[in-house]
């Protein structure tokens, strides 16, 4: 497919450095996009961007020159509020122009506040999400479709930690092993915070690894900002047969912007012009 992504999780040093550099630039795009929009979710976009970049520019087989090809890998962003991370990747890959990023959340823009699947078949906007807890079921359906057709593609689903509180997520966690979906990978952006506070206080999801293992998933725990570790986890998922893989990725909310890191209030508030300038300066220095 198109050279934008080799379509393999190989984790050599040059690859990791290349992806880190993309992620560093796209963090700036996220902050600029949200500041311009005046609303949105910086915390969960910045916690997810390293993994979304690694998927977009290394792991997934996809082709911006030919978005609809049926054998493309599928990526469902179940935590739909993190969509600025996907839009930044879409612009980098050429699915949309960089100029279009500044239309986020505006009337008439294709870049809606949460993902819509109707305008281009790009990874991350394969299905409409934003009502939390639904993405893993959709990804499961895609993985079953792939199995029925002789497995032309793999399916990835990025979840938020808050949405692990939704009952439907546990329905999908129960059913995917039944269908032996080893072509399905669930990734948890575990940044520990949701709108009303810290996940452990709002509604604790721990002990998570034990729950997932008892549901018969292959479970891998990583640092979600360590791109090398992420790629190795994807490699491990590809090598795991007979059951789906769940990657618990420990992340930091607002990662990369010192005054946002680990702060609950940056879940759903956009930076103002002064804050954005400060954030961008910091990101460019890093």
């Amino acid at each position: 497919m198109h050279p934008v992504s080799p379509g393999t999780p190989r984790a050599d040093e040059a690859t990791v450095r290349r992806l880190e550099e993309i992620a560093r630039r796209l963090r700036v795009d996220i902050v600029e996009m949200l500041a311009k929009a005046g609303s949105g979710h910086p915390g969960g976009s910045l916690s997810a961007i390293d993994m979304v970049v690694a998927l977009y520019f290394q792991v997934l087989r996809h082709d911006p020159q030919n978005p609809g090809r049926p054998d493309r890998d599928r990526f469902v962003l179940s935590k739909g509020h993190g969509v600025p991370a996907v839009y930044a990747c879409m612009a980098e890959a050429g699915y949309v122009s960089r100029e279009e990023l500044s239309t986020l959340r505006r009337l008439g823009s294709r870049l809606q506040g949460h993902p819509v699947s109707s305008f281009v078949l790009a990874p991350g906007v394969e299905a409409c999400t934003g009502s939390l807890g639904q993405g893993l079921s959709v990804a499961q359906g895609m993985a079953i479709a792939s199995k029925l057709d002789g497995e032309p593609f793999r399916v990835y689903c990025l979840l938020g930690d808050g949405e692990m509180q939704e009952g439907q997520v546990w329905e999908a966690l129960m059913s995917a092993p039944k269908y032996r979906l080893d072509n399905l990978v669930a990734i948890l952006d575990y940044n520990k915070a949701q709108i009303d506070g810290f996940v452990k206080d709002v509604m604790d999801i721990e002990p998570l690894r034990e729950k997932l293992e008892s549901f018969n998933w292959h479970v891998v725990t990583i640092d979600g900002h360590d791109i090398g570790a992420f790629l190795r986890a994807m490699e491990e998922a590809q090598a795991t047969k007979g059951r789906p893989t769940f990657v618990i990725a420990n992340t930091v909310k607002g990662k990369g912007v010192s005054f946002m890191e680990g702060v609950v209030d940056w879940h759903g508030v956009a930076p103002n012009a002064e804050q954005a300038a400060r954030a961008i300066e910091e990101l460019k220095r890093s």
């Binding site: 469902v76 079921s137 269908y179």
Partner: protein, 310 residues
């Protein structure tokens, strides 16, 4: 009117025939396959049948994923349970433009003995409110077969509403289903009854009884509840002097009665009577007793039409 069959049974049989012709047809059920009759497909094509357990929300999302990858999924449960997962239908199915066929059997109060919790009485209202959602309720087994065939190629999400109970066959075998069009089954000029589902056969019987008394009632089958055939509805209302009755086994709020009222209020204000389940919860009882109580059988419909025209 000699053949009697539940439309869920006709659905299950039609699905098997469709599955033989089309490899892209897949079927999902949530532990009610014996009741929705999707098990007929499951037995014939186990590799394309997905028993999802009692997980309607997960089933709808899975169906959406299958549809987004080119399959034609029929996701089945009781009408109340499947449309009760509204958020999943709203976002994963409809908004995602996933061509899922949502199948709700056990429509209406005619579910009977099991009582309100199993009776789909608000499902048309819910589905009708969703952009792009087609809503179809066939009147008999022949029409059900035709609708299932139609749905194999319909663009967009669709809700198919089916009965638990047997209904009289009113169509001949060569019937052709026309999506989005009403069907005049009996001519008349004093009033028109727009009916859907089980109430179509009941309304035909009511019209026959009324004819014996010199009252001429047109009977129209509204199988496509959304998009409503606005032109056809207005034309029928005009031909019958603006005297309009609707009959359905559904709440009088949001169903066929509301759809026709919305249409006529804008295009041809008419005198209207909505026959359906009033704004109350359903209850246990035999289907016949319940239809008698709520005036949804031929006698009840005839009585209400008589009063309406007096």
């Amino acid at each position: 009117m000699s053949v009697k069959k539940a439309t869920r049974q006709a659905f299950g049989e039609a699905l098997v025939r469709l599955g033989e012709e089309r490899q892209d047809i897949v079927v999902l059920d949530a532990d009610l396959a014996k009741s929705t009759k999707s098990e007929l497909f499951g037995k014939k094509f186990p590799e394309r049948f997905f028993e999802m357990g009692i997980q309607e929300a997960n089933m709808l999302g899975t169906a959406a994923g299958l549809a987004l990858c080119g399959k034609v999924p029929f996701a089945c449960s009781f009408a109340c349970f499947i449309t009760g997962r509204y958020d999943q239908i709203r976002i994963s199915v409809a908004y995602s433009e996933a061509n899922v066929r949502i199948v709700g059997t056990h429509a209406g109060i005619a579910v009977g003995d099991d009582g309100y919790s199993q009776q789909g009485l608000e499902d048309i209202a819910l589905m009708r409110a969703l952009p792009t959602m087609a809503v179809i309720q066939p009147a008999d087994d022949v029409e059900t077969e035709a609708v299932v065939r139609y749905l194999a190629d319909h663009e967009g999400p669709a809700y198919l509403r089916l009965t638990r109970q047997n209904v009289d066959r009113i169509h001949s075998e060569d019937y052709v289903f026309r999506f989005g069009r009403i069907e005049t089954l009996r001519d008349g000029k004093d009033a028109v009854i727009f009916a859907t589902g089980a109430q179509v056969a009941e309304s035909l019987r009511a019209a026959e009884a009324l004819a014996a008394e010199g009252i001429s009632v047109r009977v129209v089958n509204v199988a496509t509840l959304k998009p409503l055939d606005v032109e056809g509805v207005v034309e029928a209302a005009r031909a019958c002097g603006g005297k309009v009755i609707t009959a359905e086994d559904h709440s009088v709020i949001g169903g066929l009665g509301s759809a026709v009222a919305e249409c006529l209020a804008e295009h041809f204000p008419s005198r209207m009577l909505r026959i359906g389940v009033p704004d109350v919860f359903g209850e246990s009882g035999s289907p016949a007793d319940l239809y008698r109580k709520y005036g949804l059988d031929a006698e009840g419909i005839a009585k209400k039409v008589r009063e309406f025209l007096r």
